[in-house]
Symmetry: C2
DNA sequence: GATAATTGTTATCCAATATATCAAATGCCG
DNA sequence: CGGCATTTGATATATTGGATAACAATTATC
């Protein structure tokens, strides 16, 4: 995203510049007042989440992995021998939606479904060689580019405190 | 959500209880290992955001307001005389999507569009009487039920620290 | 006055999320 | 054993949020 827009073919008419260089400064007319909005935790939470996901996508772009896909690969690596329902439930993904997600990963040869010998209903999920390799590269990108940047912004202790509180909310709220 | 499921009409067959009371304990087979996932800020961020939005919806359910709608009302109250583009931009909503959102609020008589006298292209947005009343009630519900619960979970200082870091991420990341 | 830009709008499109339903397989209990 | 409920993966489908393209009306700019 934020890539092409209308700048496709007939990009030959910057006759008059758009009057707004839109460099960095306040682009709005006079900067609206957020008011109580800045005290709404959910608002900042959502805004921050969008930013973090966007940065994640950028950092791991060469591997073409979304946050959700990355989380699946991580879980498969750490939990061998599990079936689709178990992995999906752990990630809060509904089973029907997890099917097409796995189709995508499997078609890229990042993971594989194998029929269980015990329970022939279920599919045991496993990373492929390529899946392990991609995951390893992704981990490095995330650590060196993504999480490093967050560390820089918040400081190690700030980042840890943030993570604790978020996990607590996700767990106990 | 999480309301009815299949328990609609023919809810007369608890012949054998589902074998899992599903009270509170670890429902999963043996609790998967999250591994590096618990260190991924984006993961906890998303999970926490979902929980917070869900609670917001519950708390403000009697008024039938989503977080996004609430944020619009807040912004309109604090920034009179603005047009659709300005409000939408401030909230990170794309103008085309903001149209139907406003249609919803306007059809419920919570806000109104008025053609500007200066610029007859733009619609000046304003809360109606009912809009102000609903916003006032919503604020009370959010403060007493929603944010109060977060305060209880994190403590006032924790909540403030969390808000600061989230705002910083949303602003500078 | 001609051309570009802006505003609100419509029409789409895509992704994420949610429910209902199904066939195959398994568990349970008399 | 035999029947019934449950589970698993899958399909179809609906809803929602978010994104782009295009348009008419209006305004800005040269």
């Amino acid at each position: 995203m934020t890539v092409s827009k209308t700048a496709g073919v007939e990009a030959a008419k910057p006759a008059r510049p758009p009057r707004k260089e839109n460099g960095e400064g306040p682009d709005e007319v006079s900067a609206l007042q957020l008011g109580e909005l800045s005290e709404l935790l959910g608002y900042s939470l959502k805004r921050a989440q969008l930013k973090v996901f966007e940065d994640f996508l950028n950092c791991v772009a060469p591997l073409q992995l979304t946050p959700a896909q990355f989380s699946v690969l991580l879980l498969l690596d750490r939990n061998p021998g599990r079936n689709q329902t178990e992995i999906a439930n752990t990630l809060g993904i509904l089973r029907p939606n997890f099917v097409s997600m796995l189709d995508g990963l499997e078609s890229r040869d990042l993971c594989a479904r194998m029929r269980s010998t015990n329970d022939r209903r279920s599919h045991i999920l496993a990373l492929t060689e390529k899946g392990r390799a991609v995951l390893a590269r992704a981990k490095k990108l995330v650590a060196s580019k993504h999480e490093a940047r967050l560390n820089e912004l918040l400081g190690p202790e700030g980042r840890a405190a943030l993570l604790d509180m978020l996990a607590k909310i996700a767990r106990e709220f």
